[in-house]
């Protein structure tokens, strides 16, 4: 009989139940969309923040201890280098997927066209890297192009390593170009300590800092000029990191002081310090350190953005919650007459409550399921329009939304059920309410 009554309600009251399902669907879709966006916004903004350039620098172990200025004095002192082939190890660390870009850099002072001394930097532009370790081949296109996203190429084109195969090309900073009257397409001669090169200028860039006075060329050209073929001086690494917290601060001082559990947690969280640590594990002769300007600011902005989105989400959730409980309440109130009739024919409070809750919950579950997919679609729309990439789906969201909807529906039914229990059949059936 219970089911017959429920079926009866569904057949007769389908409009009202549809309304409840619809509101629940709307609420669930807000919740799903906001939670998905909220959980993913950190990663998304983090990717955007990569436009600020690298947040980790890798230098040779001993270079960290040695004074550059000291080297200048002892001209013949060996500048330490890292082997270029070792850089592929970056693709094998635990957080390799968080490393968005990296590039080796070798800088040196050269004589430009037999005149002034200028700084020349050799690096990968859009290098195709293949690295094989223990039978697995890792591949990555990486280089300085993404690490200098703020460059304006004012004339000519960005150097394209893969198309303009081989060496002999360079980019020149705008200030230097203006000083020496260099324009795109010109040929320049640079003379370093170990040789000289003829380079074709593919483009002039404006960087807005000291690099406007530099020449950028391929790493191999710089290696020949400095006589360090197969080696580089420094690497810039750009990684997606989690903001530092208390654990990260302690670990940054000395990871060996952490307890076992803490160490595992630290190692498996994408803190800038744990990524640095893993880079050093992979390339023992290197010293990786955070670029504070980038790493700290990233942390701060991420934290603010996440907090902002969290609060906006909470607000939307409260809105959705109130909307749902509101409609559930009015849905039950509307049917007071019918329910009073049931009471009049001898239904107990418990039976009526069960009947009402079953109806509403089943409508809510249908609505929540529909709303969940709608919300997922909304999240994708947000991801596509704002970040040009899909918002990642989190299984946790489904769970949270399910719990939330059931709780909200039951909670929303409380005033209605309390009203039901107070109902006196005689009053209702007499046309009052």
């Amino acid at each position: 009989m219970f089911f017959r009554m429920i079926r009866g309600t569904f057949l007769r009251q389908w409009k009202k139940l549809l309304m409840i399902a619809l509101t629940v669907a709307l609420g669930a879709s807000i919740a799903t969309a906001m939670l998905n966006v909220m959980l993913d916004v950190g990663d998304k903004i983090n990717e955007e923040l990569k436009t600020y350039g690298s947040n980790i620098t890798v230098v040779p172990q001993s270079e960290a201890v040695m004074n550059k200025l000291y080297d200048v004095e002892n001209d013949e002192a060996v500048t330490e280098y890292i082997a270029e082939e070792k850089l592929g190890e970056l693709l094998t660390i635990f957080w390799a997927n968080n490393i968005t870009d990296f590039a080796p850099v070798t800088d040196t002072t050269v004589t430009l066209n037999g005149g002034d001394e200028v700084t020349l930097v050799g690096s990968w532009f859009d290098h195709h890297l293949e690295f094989t370790k223990k039978g697995t081949t890792y591949q990555r296109d990486t280089g300085i192009i993404n690490l200098r996203s703020w460059w304006d190429v004012t004339s000519g084109k960005m150097l394209d390593e893969q198309k303009q195969s081989g060496d002999g090309y360079a980019m020149v900073g705008s200030e230097l170009a203006a000083q020496h009257n260099i324009s795109a397409g010109d040929k320049i001669t640079v003379k370093g300590e170990k040789g000289s090169e003829q380079l074709v200028v593919t483009g002039i860039y404006e960087s807005g800092d000291d690099e406007d006075k530099y020449i950028y060329t391929t790493l191999s050209a710089a290696q020949r000029l400095t006589g360090s073929t197969g080696y580089f001086k420094k690497a810039e690494v750009s990684a997606i990191t989690s903001p530092d917290d208390e654990l990260a601060v302690r670990a940054a001082k000395d990871p060996s002081l952490l307890s076992g559990d803490e160490y595992d947690l630290w190692y498996c969280t994408a803190y800038v310090s744990s990524i640095c640590f893993q880079i050093q594990e992979a390339i023992p002769e290197a010293n990786a350190s955070a670029v504070r300007q980038i790493a700290d600011s990233e942390g701060k902005i991420l934290e603010k953005t996440e907090l902002l989105m969290t609060l906006i989400s909470i607000m939307s959730l409260i809105g959705a919650t109130l909307g749902i409980s509101n409609l559930v309440t009015s849905g039950v109130m509307e049917r007071s007459q019918e329910l009073a009739l049931l009471k009049a024919v001898g239904a107990t409070n418990g039976q009526i409550t069960r009947l009402v809750l079953t109806e509403i919950l089943s409508a809510a579950i249908v609505g929540a399921a529909a709303g969940f997919f709608m919300g997922y679609a909304f999240a994708q729309i947000i991801g596509r329009t704002v970040f040009d990439s899909a918002v990642e789906m989190s299984g946790m969201v489904a769970f949270i939304v399910a719990v939330l909807i059931i709780a909200v529906t039951l909670f929303g039914s409380i005033p209605a059920v309390r009203m039901l229990l107070r109902l006196r059949p005689s009053e209702v059936l007499h046309g009052g309410h």
């Binding site: 996203s149 807005g208 350190s289």
Partner: protein, 401 residues
């Protein structure tokens, strides 16, 4: 006519007051909707300003350098700085670099204003403390390692320069003069005692320098030659910054002001995305909330179909029924809108205080917009069910269950 209007008001108020529970349900929905509208609206309009201030943690976004080979003197710096609006100027820091040696190892000494550094380079990590008075120094981590300095150590910086006339040096407390045996030129070795207050970590080239106060570098070099570079941090977007640069260029020709592109270009990229994010989230949430308000209003009206039928049976014209129900809805929409717009402001302020630790800018225009929007949405949400209800044959409604 007057009596009729009075009865109209009497019916509308009776409906609002005596059907309290239903009306609260409807009003609550409208208030929530209006709160979300005005709250998210204020947050949306305030995000660029608030976030822009956050982005200042990347440090300076404008750099002043001397336009010729000289230096920037105090007066032109002040003139240049006066171009920025006080509210947007976060801070500025002058730097003056000198090559000196410490324990006979050459080191670059940078004179600066440490209170400005806090604003233009908030990312500096200091072990120990920031120098608070003359005679204290901040040692770059690399320099400290090479020189073997740790916090609290005393160091003496040495500056050598050629002297032609020894009488120039009268009044200077602590110097030594020696003569180059080969050339016969006289040199003065001037010493400055410094205490290492802290070690600086940045992960950048700053770690190679030793930072002291401007007064110290003046007394060490015995000259007051002005600054090599000035870092300026301004809370503004790229386009606005470009306007400022033009003004600075016009006002002080001996300063060449440049954007730190790495910071400004990236900031505008990220900020644009953030703004778009908040905008689209606002739109999605708003649309869904409005639909929620509409469904609630629809439900509230729909349950009164019988009453509408009765009024028709009593001889009411469709138009007068609509007028009554609509004015009920409009009263609800108005009251809900007013309450919601104020609550939304409170909410936005809470968010702003929590996230950015600064109050939200109150935008008065959002109040009438919120109220108008909630009146319109409520009105439309009422119209639809009323319209369908008045079309129904009263006989059917009154007969049926």
């Amino acid at each position: 006519m007057n009596k009729k209007r009075r009865m109209f008001v009497r019916m509308v108020t009776a409906s609002l007051v005596r059907r309290r529970s239903r009306m609260i349900v409807a009003l609550l929905a409208i208030i929530v909707g209006a709160t979300i509208l005005s709250g998210l609206g204020m947050i949306y309009f305030d995000v660029p300003r608030q976030m822009s201030a956050q982005f200042r943690s990347y440090g300076a976004n404008i750099i002043f350098t001397p336009s010729d080979d000289g230096y920037i003197d105090k007066d032109s710096l002040e003139k240049g700085i006066s171009c920025f609006s006080k509210e947007q100027l976060e801070g500025y820091t002058p730097y003056r670099y000198e090559n000196t040696s410490i324990h006979n190892i050459p080191v670059t000494l940078a004179g600066t204003d440490f209170s400005g550094v806090l604003k233009t380079s908030p990312y500096w990590h200091i072990n120990g403390s920031m120098p608070s008075s003359d005679g204290e120094a901040l040692i770059g981590a690399k320099a400290a390692e090479k020189l073997g300095i740790s916090v609290g150590d005393s160091i003496s910086a040495q500056n050598s320069f050629e002297v032609t006339d020894e009488t120039d040096l009268t009044g200077i407390p602590d110097y030594e003069i020696y003569t180059d045996p080969e050339t016969g030129e006289k040199y003065c070795d001037h010493m400055l005692e410094l205490k290492a207050a802290g070690i600086l970590e940045t992960g950048g080239s700053e770690e190679e320098y030793i930072y002291v106060t401007l007064a110290d570098i003046q007394s060490l070099t015995l000259s007051d030659r002005g600054y090599d570079i000035v870092e300026v941090s301004v809370a503004a977007m790229q386009d606005e910054l470009k306007d400022y640069l033009k003004q600075v260029g016009e006002k002080t020709p001996d300063i060449s002001a440049r954007l730190v592109k790495r910071v400004t270009a990236s900031e505008s990229t990220v900020l644009t995305k953030l703004e778009a994010l908040v905008l689209i989230v606002t739109i999605v949430v708003l649309a869904l909330t409005m639909i929620c308000v509409a469904t609630t209003m629809t439900a509230v009206i729909a349950e009164r179909r019988k009453e509408i039928g009765l009024r028709k049976a009593l001889g009411a014209q469709n138009s007068s029924i609509m007028a009554e129900f609509l004015s009920e809805g409009l009263v609800l929409g108005g009251v809900g809108g007013i309450a919601g717009s104020l609550l939304g402001f409170v909410f936005a302020d809470i968010v702003s205080m929590n996230v950015f630790s600064s109050p939200i800018t109150f935008r008065p225009l959002l109040l009438p917009i919120t109220i108008a929007a909630s009146v319109i949405v409520t009105g439309l949400a009422c119209m639809i069910p009323i319209k369908s209800a008045v079309e129904v044959d009263p006989a059917l409604v009154l007969k049926g269950e």
